[in-house]
């Protein structure tokens, strides 16, 4: 039997009369607060406050564990013990596993802290456990709280108009925020976007402009005064290049429909499951790469490859980006782990001005995605990966050069 449009509507009316109870809706205080967090005039101040709370708690919690306990545990106990216990001081295996050290007056000198030693068992473990673990736990805890309370859909609605300017829609806030924890689940979450164009733009922007939680926690610990400027450059870049990509990438960017749930009390069991799963997932992906990254960078240093690349690329680093040639090492390390690269930059901070440090950290962020993200992007499609890498190359040179130019114009470069 085929129903006409009119018959269908009659049938819908009949069914709804029998199944739906109509009555006066009581507007509750939670409803009114929910509306306030969606309307731009009131929702934007609330979003600003929630982001403030997010980063303030993130900084206090990570600082409590990292600076309060782990720095001391690793620098005052673990490093000296390992420097003495590990055999073959001054040898290549010792340099890769424990401490690359330095040469002063022709003699091998041990490092005084875990960030300068660059060993797998020292810097690698310290970054993975002492810095990244507390940061990732609190990041995912706060994210799970916002999700379970019901704030994330409201944030998606609030940012929908802005994100349409870069060819995305409100849902894009989910991969963006997930990427602030780790780019790998962020890239996976781009699947919630409908079209190829949206997925490509999102994936490219995540790989270039969104620093992961590990990198943010290192920046927070090493260079808290410069962090605001670094993030500002990345946010501006996100929107500038998103806007350009939206104009040049063919395809559609459709509207989205979202069911905004009421605010609810979060369930401890839900939060526990989400945080546990995400932290486990992060560590399965990140720990091997941190340790492997440390080992490979150590080998490259020992073989003189990084010094060679630094010398070869010096005209580009010094002339175009305005940073010292010594940043070549951290930039190569950034392919393996961006957090390690930022730590390496901090170790050579005495030869850089604050503006050069900002430029170098922004370059580390927008330069090649870390190898775990690279693998994830490859899984999403090799054409998308190649396209993203082409965009990335253009972005690194144009944006890196632009930041240098801004520094010259301001007289700080």
């Amino acid at each position: 039997m085929k129903l006409s449009t009119g018959d269908r509507w009659d049938l819908i009316d009949k069914i709804s009369k029998e199944t739906v109870t109509f009555g006066a809706y009581k507007h509750t205080l939670m409803d009114a607060i929910g509306e306030l967090t969606i309307k731009p005039m009131t929702g934007i101040p609330v979003a600003i406050a929630i982001m403030y709370g997010f980063w303030s708690v993130f900084g206090s919690f990570a600082g409590f564990f990292t600076d309060g306990f782990f720095v001391r545990l690793f620098d005052a106990y673990w490093l000296p013990w390992l420097q003495g216990a590990f055999p073959g001081q001054g040898g290549w295996l010792y340099a890769i596993m424990v401490d690359a050290g330095g040469i002063e007056s022709g003699e091998f000198v041990l490092s005084s802290n875990c960030l300068e030693s660059f060993g797998v068992l020292t810097s690698g473990l310290f970054v993975a456990v002492g810095v990244v673990l507390p940061a990732i736990i609190i990041f995912y805890l706060m994210l799970a709280l916002l999700e379970d309370i019901g704030y994330m859909p409201r944030l998606a609605v609030l940012l929908d108009t802005v994100l349409h300017r870069v060819g995305l829609h409100g849902y894009a806030i989910v991969p963006t925020i997930l990427s602030l924890g780790c780019n790998v689940p962020g890239v996976a979450a781009t699947r919630i976007l409908e079209t190829k164009k949206q997925r490509f733009i999102m994936m490219t922007l995540l790989a270039i402009f969104i620093p992961c939680g590990a990198q943010i926690s290192i920046m927070q610990g090493m260079m808290p005064d410069l962090m605001g400027w670094i993030l500002l450059y990345l946010i501006i870049g996100y929107f500038i290049f998103g806007y350009i990509l939206n104009k040049i990438v063919p395809g559609k960017a459709p509207e989205f429909l979202i069911d905004v749930p009421p605010y609810r009390r979060p369930l401890l069991s839900n939060i526990g499951k989400k945080v546990g799963g995400r932290v486990r997932g992060f560590f399965v992906v990140a720990i091997p790469f941190v340790l492997l990254g440390c080992a490979i960078v150590g080998v490259l240093y020992q073989l003189g490859v990084i010094r060679f690349l630094g010398d070869a690329l010096a005209p580009v680093f010094v002339g175009w980006f305005g940073v010292p040639k010594e940043t070549a090492g951290p930039l190569i390390a950034a392919f393996l782990r961006k957090d390690l690269a930022v730590a390496q930059l901090d170790a050579i901070s005495d030869i850089m001005t604050p503006y050069q440090m900002i430029t170098a950290v922004v370059l580390v962020s927008i330069y090649f995605p870390c190898v775990a993200t690279f693998a994830m992007m490859l899984k999403e499609g090799w054409k998308e990966l190649l396209g993203a890498l082409a965009v990335l190359t253009v972005v690194v040179f144009t944006y890196g050069g632009l930041i240098h130019l801004i520094g010259i114009l301001l007289g700080v470069a």
Binding site: L29, S56, V57
Partner: protein
């Protein structure tokens, strides 16, 4: 519509004015690049994060209060007053959480005790306080009005 006392309107109007003034003071002190302390109990932070970003939120909280007091009995207007308090709770909560995390470790980079001594632990909670922390107890009054409204709604069985 649930009737609230006019005392609530006056209270939140005054709180709104003070909160707005504190928010502006936060921003001005941050813009000047220095810290401001008054009589050992008030300290306005001069850093861009707490003074600048936090100051903007305190300012918004004050504006929420002032915007919500007109037609205070309407639930949408009352929600603005509640939101003003929530914004203060966010900033003050972050300040208190930072105090707690800073008070526990000894912050010694070399050997020595891992945890703070009791006098130093207690001293970490002593004044001066940031404006948001000083505003916190006054903002909690909104809970009384939330309960009063809830009991009024239960009694009358309606809502606006």
């Amino acid at each position: 519509m649930v009737k609230q006392s006019s005392g609530g309107r006056i209270y939140f109007a005054l709180l709104g004015i003070v909160t707005t003034a504190f928010g502006l003071a936060d921003l001005l002190v941050t813009a000047s690049g220095s810290e401001f302390a008054y009589r050992g109990f008030l300290e306005i932070p001069g850093d861009i994060f707490r003074g600048g970003w936090g100051g903007i939120i305190v300012l918004f909280a004050g504006l929420f209060y002032l915007s919500g007091i007109r037609n205070f009995d309407d639930i949408h207007q009352f929600a603005k007053v509640v939101m003003g308090s929530i914004l203060i709770w966010v900033v003050a909560g972050c300040d208190i959480f930072a105090m707690i995390t800073e008070s526990i470790p000894s912050w010694n980079e070399e050997t020595g005790p891992w945890f703070n001594t009791l006098p130093d632990f207690i001293a970490a909670y002593a004044p001066p306080y940031a404006p948001s922390v000083l505003l916190l107890p006054f903002s909690l009054v909104v809970i009384y009005y939330i309960r009063k409204r809830a009991s009024g709604e239960e009694g009358s069985g309606n809502s606006s």
